[in-house]
Amino acid sequence: MKTEIKEHFDRITQEKYYSFRHKSGVSVLVSPNAYSTASAIYTSDYGGSDVSFTYNGKRYDTPRGIAHFLEHKLFETEDGGDAFKLFSKFGADSNAFTSHRATSYTFTSTVGDFYESLKILLDFVHHPHFTEASVSKERGIIAEELKMYDDNPDNRCYYELMKCLYKNNNVRYDVGGTLDSIKEITPELLYFCHRVFYSPDNMSLIVSGDVDIKKITDIMDKTVPAIRGGRVVKLKVTEPEKAYKKLSVTETEVSSPLFGFGIKDKMTVSKKLTRRKSVALSVLADMLLGESSEFFCKNYESGLLTGGCDVGYSCAGDHAYLSVFGESEKPFTVKKRIVNVLEKALSEGIDRYEFERCKKIFYSNFIYSTQNSHSVAHTLLSFYQSGDDLTKYPALLSGVNADFALECLRELYKKERTAFAVVKPKNKEEK
């Protein structure tokens, strides 16, 4: 069977990539470019949120943290060595990361050594090797990783907000699980979840660099196992429209209070509409609350806000929210002002010129995200995971306007959907 290769191209930015499905079932995206290095990301559609699923019709509920545990353990090879060492023979820089929705394994190498490194990547991910002793050893390392994140106040603030916004969605839990849940993870569970989620038809390969598609497919023909996975259905949770909790206040060792304000969004059925809405709300959030907004500049100048403000609209598979994270001695005053800004925009409308100016920020971010082989690969993955085409982004951005964005905000903003999280120093109250 001949593989059908589709070309994707954007005339404005000259970004281009090819996509096809390899005969093994792996979805492949290749972005040809002239950077000095080449990168690959091999991703299993299995993330920290995928704890409950059916496999060939039978339901499984697993401990939190297995996807992340697998990310750590797959690097170990059968002979007691590890994949890092194999990559290092070619000087390739290898790594892995787990999100709520997927687990990715990646490397960046010289263009000349790319194909040898690709063989290693495609091989080790499909050849798990776990023993009681090695799983127990890894548990210690992962426990230290979890503690490190637990000591990070920004991380705490993010998860506190997620716990307020979501009642059931697993996005409210740390991707890596908990110190207790990782104790339940055994070699058998790891093997089982690997079998369920690491079949080629559940994987994608993203490549960026001065590479040859024919050589890539030849390597895939020889390396990717010809197995079909069973029938997997990730069990979706039902989530109420309103925020689960309005407020969370946590105390820890932090210099001044950190805050996170969020508005939970309803998922839209139409993918096309979701894409447009996501872009429009991202631009609008930046315009109203980002670093060039009146809100930010005034409150920074007055000292109410300390440092920058992280503003964005996030939409990832089964959940979406608008958020504002920052630092302030008076987080509740900031919250009031955020709400005022949003309500004022809804009652008085917004400046169309300002909205167009803010679109430039997102266009620029897009160009910046395609500046080297590594970032091209990551950007391509991010678009792919959202079911989007990277080369259509500039046109999509150009097409959204202030009226549509305001309409999206009107649908999004309901008081009962908002939540606020504060991580503050002990015994410190807002005056």
């Binding site: 404005i12 930015t13 950077y35 000095s36 290095t37 590890d82 890092f84 060492k85 290092s88 023979k89 070619f90 000087g91 390739a92 820089d93 790594n95 960046t108 010289t110 050893k137 890894e138 210690g140 390392i141 992962i142 426990a143 230290e144 990783e145 503690k147 490190m148 637990d150 000591d151 990070n152 106040p153 920004d154 110190l179 820890t252 060792e253 932090v254 210099s255 001044s256 670093e291 060039s292 009146e294 500049c297 920074y300 100048e301 007055s302 000292g303 300390t306 440092g307 630092e327 100016r357 430039k360 920020i361 266009y363 620029s364 971010n365 160009i367 910046y368 500046q371 080297n372 082989s373």
Partner: protein
């Protein structure tokens, strides 16, 4: 990639790097602005105040919107320290003009803003605006206080303080809270005039093409600032440590301890061992196949991260790891053992693997205008021969195991700093 340096007689150096593949342009202007804690605090406040406004854009909102109009150009003004020297750096990054959708001259606009920020400050009756100054002072105080929010950075910060306690000319990049609080707008304005009149200046420009406007910018800046002497940053003297390990433990209610091992490092940027030192770092701690990663993390399962950072300008190195309190002694013993073992030699295999890894990283660096600008700026500030990352990469081929051992023998652990978690904290 091509580079050229124009070493001007007026003490303002310009380095231009071009590579057709670059999609963005970076321009940085660095001043070597003195030593000590007061200079650090003044420098930190000055960069904050200057980047808030200029004559053309007298408020934060105006300047931020002007940057947005230039396709979200990024203006970064911050104060860094290289060894004992304080270096205020003004940097602007933007898309290349070919990505402009409406024929906006992005590069020209960015150079105008950068010039205005540096040379045309917004003064009210000949002084910095009191309100802007006080607001930036509060922001700086918050930034200093917030160092504790990142536990490993805070431990490194405190460990560096302790390691350099003997050197009165050393200061962390912001100076102390006491000094920051005492500074007045007049103090910082005096510091500004001193900097623009006397401090050696290095300009680095990285773009896809050799743009004539950067030469105009350099000329205009030289004309405004006037002649000054040449200069480089000042490193600390090497200090031989005593034979016994010293120790300091500080407590914080956190779940994981941060362990830092401070070392004396006998060497500097001019000792001709740059390539050997880079490979030492890679073999010892920077790589996932490094000695620390393989032993402290993988074999003994004591931590998630264990690495080291060289502070070459200070003649120090710090090894650091996040560990559970009950494993701390074991981790420290293993770190000391591995530091010692490096002196016994490295294998041809690990040398070769790490050489390839470093070369790969240098290639990645060359793809990034921002990292390339930082590479050349650092060489300029240290007064080193201007060679490209590619030339440095080629020099790695000459490194032998003996060369790495020579670097290892110049490293002596002598101080342990621990940020200790509170055992009452529940996980």
């Amino acid at each position: 990639m091509e580079h050229k340096r124009i070493k001007a007689e007026d003490g303002i150096n310009l380095t231009v790097i071009t590579d057709k593949r670059y999609k963005t342009t970076v321009t940085s202007v660095s001043f070597i602005a003195g030593e000590g804690e007061r200079a650090a605090a003044c420098s930190a406040l000055l960069t904050g105040v200057l980047s808030r406004s200029c004559r053309k854009y007298p408020s934060l909102i105006e300047i931020n919107r002007a940057l947005d109009d230039l396709y979200d150009a990024q203006l970064n003004a911050d104060s860094r320290h290289y060894g004992l020297s304080q270096v205020p750096v003004f940097k602007i990054s933007s898309l290349n003009n070919r990505y402009s959708l409406d024929k906006t001259d992005i590069t020209g606009g960015c150079l105008d803003i950068l010039y205005s920020i540096i040379a045309e400050p917004c003064l009210v009756s000949g002084a910095f605006d009191e309100k802007v100054f006080e607001s930036e002072k509060q922001q700086l105080i918050s930034a200093v206080n917030s160092i504790i929010n990142n536990r490993s950075n805070y431990a490194l910060f405190r460990c560096t303080d302790e390691l350099m306690a003997y050197e009165p000319r050393f200061s962390q990049r912001f100076g102390s809270l006491k000094t920051i609080r005492e500074l007045t707008p007049a103090d910082v304005l005096d510091f500004y005039y001193d900097v623009i009149k006397n401090a050696p200046v290095n300009i680095v420009f990285v773009s896809s093409e050799d743009d004539p406007r950067i030469y105009e910018f350099a000329e205009k800046t030289a004309e405004k600032l006037g002649k000054r002497g040449d200069g480089v940053v000042t490193g600390a003297e090497f200090r031989q440590p005593g034979k016994r390990m010293k120790r300091k433990i500080e407590k914080m209610p956190i779940t994981q301890d941060v362990l830092c091992v401070g070392c004396a490092l006998d060497g500097d940027y001019r000792d001709g061992l740059g390539a050997e030192r880079a490979l030492y770092g890679e073999i010892f701690s920077q790589n996932p196949t490094s000695r620390l990663f393989e032993n402290v993390r993988e074999k003994l399962s004591l931590c998630y991260y264990c690495s080291s950072i060289p502070l070459l300008d200070l003649k120090k190195m710090i090894i650091y790891a996040g560990v559970d309190g009950k494993n701390r002694k074991k981790a420290e013993a293993e770190i000391l053992k591995q530091t010692e073992l490096m002196k016994n030699g490295v294998s041809a295999d690990e040398l070769e693997r790490c050489r390839l890894s470093l070369k790969n990283d240098i290639l990645s660096l060359c793809d990034s205008p921002s990292r390339t600008a930082a590479w050349y700026a650092s060489r300029d500030l240290h007064g080193l021969e201007l060679y490209s990352p590619y030339e440095f990469s080629a020099s790695l081929d000459q490194v032998t195991p003996d060369g790495v051992v020579r670097v290892a023998k110049g490293i002596t652990p002598y101080f342990t700093y621990v940020l200790e978690g509170d055992s009452d904290v529940e996980n």
